[in-house]
């Protein structure tokens, strides 16, 4: 802090954002000190690398969507085929790597749709209150009371199998969690004094929601999204495994295991590597989410 401040000069970028920079440094340090979170970050960084560059680094790009090289079928892992090949001779390594992009899409679409449904409903329930809240929350409870995967299976059963329908079905069972989270947070923020202050200044309801309540709900939403990404991928894989989601030869990990399990245990690599990919991705997102919760939770700070 200097004593003489030139009050006429426009503040530099650094001055204007000094506090933001400090906050991010604090986040970074908290995160760095959390071994599990760092492991999660590394896994997710690797995952993102595959998402971005996967299709261009794989050895047999034509195998991704299913080619046929019967002469190479069910080869064990080797220098040419790191993860072996499947029953029609496709390179498992290629398909697992390309599957990362599919999985990310699945995760993003499911959490995205869930947020689009859940966050507005949660804010409306928490802010408006009364019978509106009762209605929204009871409907939410009904959805939460049915095991998600079973409900998703039922919905896919009606819509017909396929990756699109699977994502839609999972989104439909996923949003209640966001309603719960956002409603609780809105309820506590609604009585915050700064919201009162905004009301006393004449801010409209929309303004209060978008300027004062929503930004303060962001941290828990971000944490939930990162934790949910892994779970959503796992759900989609489960549906794929049950034959209700992505259909082979689409390079989706669950669908790959679904076919590969017929070849266990002798041709183990066929289902092992897609399974390992699911395991690592889910683990990565969970660890990352845990780490994010640690730094974004104000109680854990300082």
């Amino acid at each position: 802090m200097t004593d003489i401040i030139d009050t006429t000069a426009e503040p530099t970028f650094r001055e204007r954002h000094a506090s933001t920079i400090r906050t991010w440094r604090l986040y970074a340090r908290t995160f760095r000190n959390n071994g599990a979170a760092m492991l999660g970050l590394i896994i997710i960084a690797g995952f993102m690398f595959l998402v971005i560059f996967g299709p261009s680094i794989v050895p047999y790009p034509e195998d991704a969507l299913g080619a046929t090289h019967i002469e190479n079928k069910l080869q064990p892992p080797s220098a040419e085929h790191w993860f072996g090949t499947d029953e029609v001779g496709n390179d498992v390594y290629t398909r697992v790597v390309v599957g990362a992009r599919v999985s990310l899409q699945i995760g993003l679409i499911i959490t995205g749709i869930s947020m689009l449904i859940g966050v507005p409903l949660g804010i409306i329930a928490g802010y408006v209150g009364g019978w509106v809240e009762e209605t929204i929350m009871r409907v939410t409870d009904v959805f939460l009371s049915i095991p998600g995967l079973i409900l998703a299976i039922a919905i896919v059963g009606v819509l017909g199998p396929g990756i699109g329908n699977a994502m839609l079905a999972i989104s439909l069972v996923w949003w209640p969690g966001y309603v719960r989270l956002v409603q609780a947070k809105t309820l506590s923020l609604k009585s915050a004094i700064y919201v009162d202050a905004a009301r006393s200044m004449g801010a409209s309801k929309m303004r209060i929601v978008f300027v004062h309540i929503l930004p303060n709900c962001l941290s828990p939403i971000i944490v939930k999204v990162s934790m949910d990404m892994g779970m959503a991928i796992l759900y989609a894989a489960s549906l794929g495994f049950l034959g209700l989601g992505a259909q082979p030869p689409f390079p989706e990990w669950g669908a790959m295991i679904s076919v590969g399990r017929n070849y266990l245990p002798d041709w183990w690599w066929y289902s092992f590597f897609p399974g390992l990919a699911i395991f690592l991705t889910v683990l990565g997102f969970n660890l990352l989410g845990d780490g994010l919760r640690d730094i974004l939770d104000p109680k854990g700070r300082e």
């Binding site: 009050t7 905004a198 009301r199 006393s200």
Partner: protein, 327 residues
């Protein structure tokens, strides 16, 4: 300028599984002239904050009315409401929670200006800068976040925000009780000086009698939703008439040597507003309570010869003989 007529505020609550109405403010009549500073003093549960919040429409009045320059502001349409917001502003008790943690100081202070004026961009920044100057903060605070400021600095920011639209009336709800005494002194001094400079009228809500005495020229003492004594500050403090006012004044420990270690503190707890005593609300704790009188029927306000209003039967002209012995 501002007047309340039998202002009543009730909240629906659930007590022991039954629905009940908690009457936080019970037929309160206050009157603030332009340029006045009226102190509203009372303990927790006295309804003093609710009065301030109701004037600014943060709570709904369930009975009575509030008038500003003769105009009823209890029920307003949207346009009039907007005018009221410009004329009356509020400063809250806890400056930390009164500022949005995700907004820079610049954004917080700019909020009322964005809502009510067309100032934007550089002009807005300039206006906010000059407001911070008025409250004695340097421009470097513009881009800070609330958690980086001390309590006193945050309260200055809140005051800057409240005066941004040049209001006439400021409702100050315990503006210094979350602050340290040396900072409190700065803020009180400052509030007194801007009152003159900006020609403000204050409704100053506090539990701290000394602070009220320092800032306000008139005072109203509240107990369980009612005003029990109202008058010029100096007169009320130097010669309190209602037994509750007396007890309140005696209860304050003074920062000076030679006080008796043991006193005779006022007995009992503040009754629950859901289970109000019969008769005078203070009779359960009052030293001078007259059995058969004070615990029977509600007590109206009496105006004493010197123009003070006191809600106590001791000042009932008809009770004079008994009152004389009790006093």
């Amino acid at each position: 300028m501002l007047e309340t007529h039998d202002l009543t505020v009730g909240f629906p609550v659930r007590a022991d599984g039954k629905k009940a109405i908690l009457t936080a403010v019970n037929k309160v009549n206050i009157r603030i002239e332009k340029g006045d500073a009226l102190g509203l003093v009372g303990e927790s549960g006295s309804g003093k904050s609710t009065v301030g919040r109701t004037i600014l429409h943060l709570n709904r009045a369930t009975g009575g009315s509030v008038t500003l320059d003769g105009q009823d502001i209890t029920r307003l349409n949207a346009a009039d409401e907007k005018v009221l917001r410009r004329r009356a502003q509020m400063v809250f008790q806890d400056p930390h929670s009164a500022l949005n943690p995700r907004m820079t100081i610049m954004r917080s202070v700019a909020e009322p200006l964005i809502l009510h004026t067309k100032l934007r961009g550089a002009e807005l920044r300039e206006k906010v800068g000059s407001l911070l100057e008025i409250v004695g903060l340097q421009k470097q605070f513009l881009y800070r976040y609330p958690h980086e400021l001390s309590g006193g600095q945050k309260q200055r920011v809140c005051i800057a925000r409240a005066i941004a639209l040049n209001p006439e009336l400021l409702v100050l709800d315990e503006p210094t009780s979350a602050l340290d005494v040396s900072v409190q002194a700065q803020i009180l001094e400052f509030l007194k000086s801007i009152q003159k400079e900006l020609d403000l009228t204050y409704l100053f809500i506090s539990h701290n009698l000394a602070v009220i005495r320092y800032v306000c020229n008139r005072v109203a003492v509240m107990y369980l939703g009612q005003i029990v004594e109202q008058g010029e500050t100096e007169e009320v403090f130097s010669n309190p008439k209602h037994p509750y006012t007396k007890a309140l004044l005696e209860a304050v420990p003074l920062p000076e040597p030679g006080q008796p270690r043991r006193g005779k503190p006022i007995v009992g707890d503040i009754p629950s507003p859901l289970n109000l005593p019969k008769g005078c609300f203070f009779n359960t704790r009052c030293e001078k309570a007259i059995a058969g009188v004070c615990d029977q029927k509600p007590v109206p306000n009496f105006t004493t010869e010197d123009g003070r209003r006191v809600r106590c039967v001791l000042y009932d002209p008809e009770m004079q003989p008994q009152a004389a012995t009790a006093l």
